[in-house]
Amino acid sequence: MTETATEMTLHPRPQAGQPKPWAFPAPERATLANGLTVLHCHRPGQQVVAVEVLLDVPLDAEPEGLDGVATIMSRAFSEGTDTLTAEEFAAELERCGATLDAHADHPGVEVSLEVPASRLGKALGLLADALRAPAFPDDEVERLVNNRLDEIPHEMANPARRAAVTLSKELFPADSRMSRPRQGTEETVARIDAAAVRAFYEAHVRPSTGTVVVVGDLTGIDLAAVLGETLGAWTAEAGAARPVPAIVADDTARVVIVDRPGAVQTQLLIGRTGPDRHDAAWPAQVLGTYCLGGTLTSRLDRVLREEKGYTYGVRAFAQVLRSAPDGTGASLLAISGSVATEVTGPALEDAWKVLRTLAEGGLTDEERDVAVQNLVGVAPLKYETAAAVAATFAEQVEQHLPDDFQARLYERLAATGTVEATAAVVNAFAPERLVVVLVGDASAIREPVEALGIGPVSVVKG
């Protein structure tokens, strides 16, 4: 029963106009006297300038038993300097209208500053002091440690975070840093104190192995001079190179249920590891993964959401864990989302059906074309802000990719065919090599999931 008449005048769908040229921006490079690498880029109109500092301090540099020390150090950068107390530092930063965030991940520590262009110099001075002369006061570090300990139960209670922690533990051997939470566990964080933070800082943080990225409307700003007076004044001795441990992962198909009695939904995280962006098949994998689960019109959501209504949305993605030009890097390949408890079995069955159908029949040319049009077409939108451009520059540096990687990626995507995209996604999401983590009510979902035969099922306490 639908209404058939409409009073408006219907017009045929319009055709696109003439595309206007756009290219992913190229950064300019420089090196400060202290060895700090500089990448900068002028983006007219972007009044909030984005600054990213990358420190070559990977998580596997953390001393044994002190997981989380890189995180505590990152947070402690904004807890005072040689001239300002913690409260004064926070006040000065906010007086600039700035935000400062720092976080530690597998490849290194990233410190992000955003500030209106008119106050860039002042804020860079504060950032430089935080990195050059952090006070790491005993009592503030103690407070950060206690805060971190208090945060852990909140994260464990969040179904998505809990699933991620469990999948890492499943995929990687216990002696790999990647198997353990990035920000440490209750046991390791409790051991951290100001002395440990200072020792870690002395051993690993220095300008000569770091990079600063500055992006925004730099009209009227003498960036070389401003950087010279701020981050350029930071000195430290060069350190020794570190060996990088190999990454191994066990992707034998299996199911782990993290039991949450009474949960109304089941959080799904289905994953394994794959190569990083240096892999020749990366563009094909990006295309294929988009077709599988990049948006609500991709294969997974077309069934799980738009046909069955099992979920608010399920996404497939690849997240680089560590990157190296020699092929020893890795990324996490995953499918993530949550489904109503009572349809967990049917939803997984449908997901596997989608994967098998894809492997048997492949992608269509039309799917591939739409994916290319979207992935390439959205670039000018995606990179409107200074922060987005700075984040990609920083990512390229951190992942040891050339500065034109993203620009070239768009050309490579456009040149990737349906057959290559199919092969890449089928290879990436092979059903017999997927580890399934379900955070949900085991008493309701265990039997239906076992019946699917997608791997042995075990249950852990939630």
Partner: protein, 455 residues
Amino acid sequence: MGHTATPEARSGGLTATEHRLANGLRVVLSEDHLTPVAAVCLWYDVGSRHEVAGRTGLAHLFEHLMFQGSAQVSGNGHFELVQGAGGSLNGTTSFERTNYFETMPAHQLELALWLEADRMGSLLTALDLESLDNQRDVVKNERRQRYDNVPYGTAFERLTAMAYPEGHPYHHTPIGSMADLDAASLEDARAFFRTYYAPNNAVLSVVGDIDPRRTLEWVERYFGSIPGHDGKPAPRDGSLPEVIGGELRQVVEEDVPSRALMAAYRLPQDGTREADAADLALTVLGGGESSRLHNRLVRRDRTAVGAGFGMLRLTGAPSMGWLDVKASSGAEVTAIEAAVDEELARFAEQGPTPAEMERAQAQLEREWLDRLATVGGRADELCRFAVLFGDPQLALTAVQRVLKVTPEEVREVAARRLRPDNRAVLVYEPTGGDAAGEEPDAPVVDPIEEEGEDA
């Protein structure tokens, strides 16, 4: 079309012009040729406050149906066509409005206008029970994912329900209840569309690398023949006394990771100088790492992991200030509450220091610059000021208004509004029931509400 172009207002080089089609559709255009992108934004003047008893969540469910096809657009065609053109899109529903937006590569702008017009004028030709039933399930899963299956997920709903009394149009939040979502019928959806989805109940903004003359021609071509209508009932009155008149309190015992103290305060309505003063007060007290509550609770007392204030700006009812404090392990809510009371009382008496004013204004200015950094953000703000205050130009001067507020005005609004007799308090006490195999008890709610204050 009746052009009513107004003198160009300026803010950091941004300008906007206004126009009105014969059917009542208001159009706002803003040119910016720095990047070859264009944003289309449509605000319909309808939100959850227009819903009636027994049909909460209908405005939001309906928003989902707007993506299920119209006369010339198939099932998921809206998403497919926009994404296939290299665009991004979404829609959101709040108390006071529903918005739909696309950001497109500039040469695909006409497609977005055609798509928005097609569903504004012909949605009912495609709407059927199958898509309603499907999107009902999707929305129920959205509710589970964002509210029911996360710790503290229903806090906002509980605070709202206390701050705006039973029967008030803002008593329920846009997500609605499971029972009401189940009850929504195809006829409800049709009636909703016929009542609220009309050109004269909407504002369209187009921002970015556009040719204004051609853009207006396209708008006229695609939207111009959609008939306007005046069947929209006046929204229910949302006015309330400016203070609650007595503290409301609810204690929730649930399996949450830590104790929490939350509170909702009634604040001045959006669009007033007092609302901007309240925003500054909340920023000084609880916006960022140099705020009074952060310094007191997190740094000095060490009773909290995080402490902050947020502001929900509303025009048809008092705005809401939302306090959120997550306790450190071992800390008692009574101690936290006493400290909060002390800080609020001191602030009401002394007001902000000059340094605090400078910081708060600098923070709000940066937030505003962030919102205006994208064409989509600008398009949304222009619609907001056009729909809620009748003048899109106000978007371009909003930050100047915040910068003009005086410390005494900030103190005064804090003294009048941030008082114990003007708040609804929500306390979380963890049950600590983390033992596997325990019976999945329904959340225990212990409402100690003082009812009948101003209701």
